[in-house]
Symmetry: D2
């Protein structure tokens, strides 16, 4: 491989630093790409470190704005949630980072892409499917699937020894007994002590959110979130009279505020695409608030049957994104369909933030005449064009099948306990 | 109608008391049925009141046990939730009450069933579809859809005047500016001041739950909930060392404990079956805890693809139940299918209850060897029979379609903002 | 109702002629609208007849072109089929006719719409839902649901007597013992002798198609059908070297040719929206050929997973259309989504027409480089960028869940008969 | 590998004969298993040939009965069809054959399984997923994915040369320019000249069916097919007064009769699980007749909404089976659910067989009172408990959403062409 250029998705941590050295050992020229998706990282130090190890070049790509506007915002608009709980913070970052990696590969004429994702996880799939989609000629190097590499590095100790041997700086800070993935949307925690799903996660694990019961303000606060076509367009802090309208700032503000209330923590077991179950702990303060607000407005704004169809598409899309298929024919199609359903999802939702949770407490459509909610129609005191007598026929015709079933197959079974 | 017997679903309140009198005016013999589904009602007083107005007979049917075991428990087992938020507390009570009404009709040889549900709501549909299913020969009297009745009683004042005129006791307590439906699972609030979806619901509305921020204990508490085949079988209060194993007691305990933490409040706009949108506020303390615990265990216990199929069935079933089709061919079928998926959902979940919310924090399967969660397989430190190298092929083959799309239609569009 | 104007959906037959007279008796001014959707009808005679009975005006609306281009073509594009067999010939005509009726109502300032659809069928739903959608202020008169009308006309004999009494011409031709609905897409037959689902339909019933076994040519013929974005754009008759490119002409040509081969007959029991099952016999020669051709091209052209999602939408749309919801939020949404999937469905299909059936025998995409079918990739003799070794990993990872199931719950049950 | 035992899925053809020899070269002990699933093969000759090449043992497993009763019958019962056209003849045979292979592996204590499926096809996936499911410890040898093997055998000529070199008999019959897979359910043809999807398949390709236009009887014939719980239980030949009740005989009879009419040919492009599209020609005479008969009875017998849910499950199951997941948690689950829906699918269907096609022409339920089809209810001449007036209310309430859409968003767009 003498002289071949490889793009390495570099994090500055122990794993990818060792991988960098290992690639150099094999005569690759290595260009390190650090994608800044909002993780708290000393990018300058990481760059220095990589160069010291021997990287030919280090590219720090600030993709935060793209991450928020092109991935997180659409996810909120689509209402994406995996297995009904996980808001896909890591899954969404992967295609965004991949675009930066591909861009670097193109600029540098690299033929190879190396990443530090493990061979059991979802991220390898996400990175590589994105690479196949965006630059099909790129070849993948996945050291954690390389037999030789795996033999050499059987655990963290081997990595530390290798690092020390080669003068690679090892963080003085002892490693946490779990692994972490952080970005502007969320932090996820898994592995290590979390692998036993019946052990409660350590309380000191959370970084984006405070403990809601001991560290959060006792008084709730309200924010009003505006949406246009299902996309968040404004966040108004009623307390401080501030209004945010830039996506990145909106998310940062909601992360801080939500984080200060300890909002958005979940502890789940999820189904990985590679077929196993894993336990993860997530904190997604701003995303949790936005998701709940959007959901409230969507049911408020959409026709019932359009909503039903949209949710079927949404469930499929959530799986596509989790599984790594952001750039795929099916995801592009589903996304366009869902966006079409969001044309009417415009208005604002008042969210109450309280220690540990948030909830919608009021909402309105953006134009008075434009919404499907019809106070006159639903009111008990007004007819609003509705003829109650019609309901009798509605029920009777709906009962035809139900009665036919009895005629054909006998009475429905009834719980015997009832008296 | 001289002498024809009608069963009246009687609540003791103003509406059904007037309906009772109105039916008597029309020469019906009226048998009042009060179903005790756990609402806080003075059944003795209500019975007296009905008899005084002129009911031929009053039947108080305590169906709480059936309600919990035959309706709420299956709903938890199936994971039913309407439009992703409403736990169906009222929808589930309707078929249970209907069984009691039908039983009374059978015993008394009644040909008519009268109810006080409005002509714009879901409950008329639920009661009547159940009646058509269980006693197809029964004829429905729905005064609120009767042109004559509606002309006479155009508002609450007309009812009060009529009551006073006929010596029907009117509660001294002023009516709340909203309507309420209560049972052992939940209390729902709608209409009146709640009809404006952008007005925050009054804080004094809630009856089952305290204000989480001012009235709840500050310290969280943990309960361990056991499930067998997806049905809750035990609740263990870790604080007090109590264990409940009877469904009714389990629910009562969780309602009290959850209520004391202010858990399970939602404020939503939902889509009614009769085509309009309505705003409802619900509090479902015990149900919320049970739902979350079951969901946690289910994803933990079920194969990923079985879960996917089950959720499709679940979404359909939730609509069936909300729309009033509990006794229908499709609901019976969907329920049996979902139950079949629950064979593996056995184990226990540790739930943390905190002011205003609850969440799963640990879980285990009932038999050590029986669960699909495989700590060895998922561990980063063990191979567990998994060959990481296989993942490369897995990804590459999954990429075939993705690459073909590029070959045929050109590159995927990439957000331009990314650098 | 003195002087109120009513639009009557008039057919020229006995039923709507009597309804016309009956409306006149009730002092309505009646404007008859005959929509020409391609049925074989003497419109001049029908007009005369209506005027003679007393219609104030008769509007003959030739909507054939709209029917083909705005309803049938989209249905082919979407691949609509109800319960997997019925191509929706009548369901599609209803909204098209309704548009003509509404147009007439608007022009004439009519407040009422009357139709001759029965109270047990789907057509009443279709006509009225369209009317509610397009002209919500219009009031519906459905004589076959009018208690008075139904009492008077309990059977065909009553209609004939009434007609004779009022000088309404009754066709000398004896009525067929079934009812018929015809248009340019199909003819449907139901009722009468067809009501027994176990009685074979009379052989002399069919009007659009000859008996394939005794009257069709013995030699097959091929036509090449071109599609663009899923819409048929050309039909080439290989035998006669004719090419048709106008939708109406394409359909007429295929009806004639397909009819001469006896193509497109089905005999089914279907589920009506009003809850009952009915038996219908249909002949849809051109539609059957177009449907099969489109289906062939679609699977050929679409990505597998896009196809899966599109079919889910298609199944929903077919129900919407059958049930009368052509003009509804959900149908508009589903249709737009499906159209979006058809962007790639361009190319041509060679169809073999033979006595009683047709089938696709060859197909190609419209642009050489544009299609997803990849001869090189699939060929056994070429690698085409595909690395067979990857398949091993693909299978192994797919097997993870399957093996985990065995680990957790024991071996799969195997048929004992196998040796 | 000296002395290790490998089970080879042997066909007697050139490929697996060369693989047998190649395995022997590598010091394996090879046990050949020929599964008789109804293909026309000289099993005695094949056995001799394998032994002559050097197989340690040859097992001929007659699994025809199991294939029909445990795989084809359930597929008919479930209504399985892939991408709406392919009846899964090959997909269903794979798990059946796999059971025989695993049985042999168990008996012989083999640690390896070798098969001759290519690296681009579905069959490798099916065989291997079944093996992983049934005998997870078995190791797979897939020569067509072996780099070394593929280098050596780059085309058919290399195989022939190798065969001749090693005294392996090569059929004097020239190879067809396509490949074939045959069993009692169907014969499939693909590859070679069929790879161009726009080239018409050669007329002499078909083996199970005659040319319907030149070789079939001109007169149609009727058969009556009985079903119980959705499973075929009898076939009555009305012409010859024969009745078949054993599954294997029923299928053989329908294959012969259907084959003599040229029924069940399709020419399609399908989506393979490994991501590519392939063109296949299939003939499935008996299966086509059974599928159509079952479909007719099912829509006749099932409640509309149960049918809808069942079809969703069916579509998933068809994909599972096609993709090789017969033995998987999701397929077991879906199958049980679908079986449950078939409890009511009992009765008989009269099928007309004609040259090139068949169709249902009459049907009845097994018990007079048991079916949902209600002649009285649907009849235009009888009320049957149905109150037509109810339909007005049914429609009006269904229109609420439709009208609300207009109120909120303005009128529906109407085709402008219509007049």
């Amino acid at each position: 491989m003498t002289g071949e250029t490889v793009i390495l998705a570099y994090s500055g941590g122990l794993d990818t630093s060792c991988i960098l050295k290992w690639l150099l050992d094999q005569q690759y020229e290595v260009i390190c790409v650090l994608a800044d998706v909002g993780q708290k990282e000393d990018f300058v130090a990481a760059e220095k470190k990589a160069l010291k190890i021997g990287a030919k070049k280090v590219i720090v790509a600030d993709v935060k704005q793209s991450f928020v506007e092109d991935y997180i915002w659409p996810a909120i608009q689509m209402g994406l949630v995996y297995e009904e709980r996980y808001l896909l913070g890591t899954s969404l970052a992967r295609p965004c980072i991949s675009v930066a990696l591909m861009e670097a590969a193109r600029q540098c004429g690299a033929k190879y892409l190396a990443h530090g994702a493990t061979g059991k996880g979802n991220d390898q799939v996400r990175f590589e499917l994105c690479a196949y989609a965006l630059k099909p000629d790129l070849q993948i190097i996945a050291p954690w699937r390389d037999v030789e590499f795996c033999r050499r590095f059987q655990g963290r100790q081997d990595l530390i020894a290798y690092a020390q041997e080669h003068g690679i700086e090892v963080s003085a800070k002892p490693a946490t007994p779990w692994s972490t993935d952080a970005n502007i949307m969320h932090i996820s925690y898994e592995s290590g002590v979390l692998e036993d799903p019946n052990t409660v996660a350590p309380g000191n694990l959370y970084e984006m959110t405070v403990d809601p019961l001991t560290k959060a303000p006792r008084d709730p606060v309200c924010v009003v979130i505006g949406f246009d076509h299902g996309l968040p367009t404004s966040v108004e802090d009623l307390a401080g009279s501030r209004v945010y309208t830039k996506p990145l700032e909106m998310l940062q503000f909601l992360n801080e505020l939500g984080g200060s209330y300890g909002i958005g923590r979940i502890d789940i077991v999820e189904n990985r695409y590679v077929g196993m179950k894993s336990r993860g702990v997530y904190e997604t303060p701003g995303g949790t608030i936005l998701y709940a607000a959007h959901q409230d407005l969507e049911v408020f704004a959409l026709d019932r049957e359009v909503l039903r169809t949209k949710q079927v598409l949404r469930d499929r899309m959530a799986d596509y994104v989790y599984n790594g298929f952001w750039f795929s024919p099916e995801a592009i199609y589903a996304r366009r369909c869902i966006e079409m359903a969001q044309q009417r999802v415009s208005g604002q939702v008042t969210m109450e933030l309280a220690p540990g949770y948030c909830r919608a407490i009021a909402r309105k459509a953006s134009k008075d005449g434009g919404a499907l909610y019809n106070e006159q129609l639903v009111s008990m005191d007004v007819h609003g064009g509705y003829v109650p007598q019609d309901a009798g026929g509605f029920i009777a015709i709906n009962a035809v099948r139900i009665r036919e079933h009895v005629r054909a197959f006998g009475p429905y079974e009834v719980p015997k306990r009832a008296k």
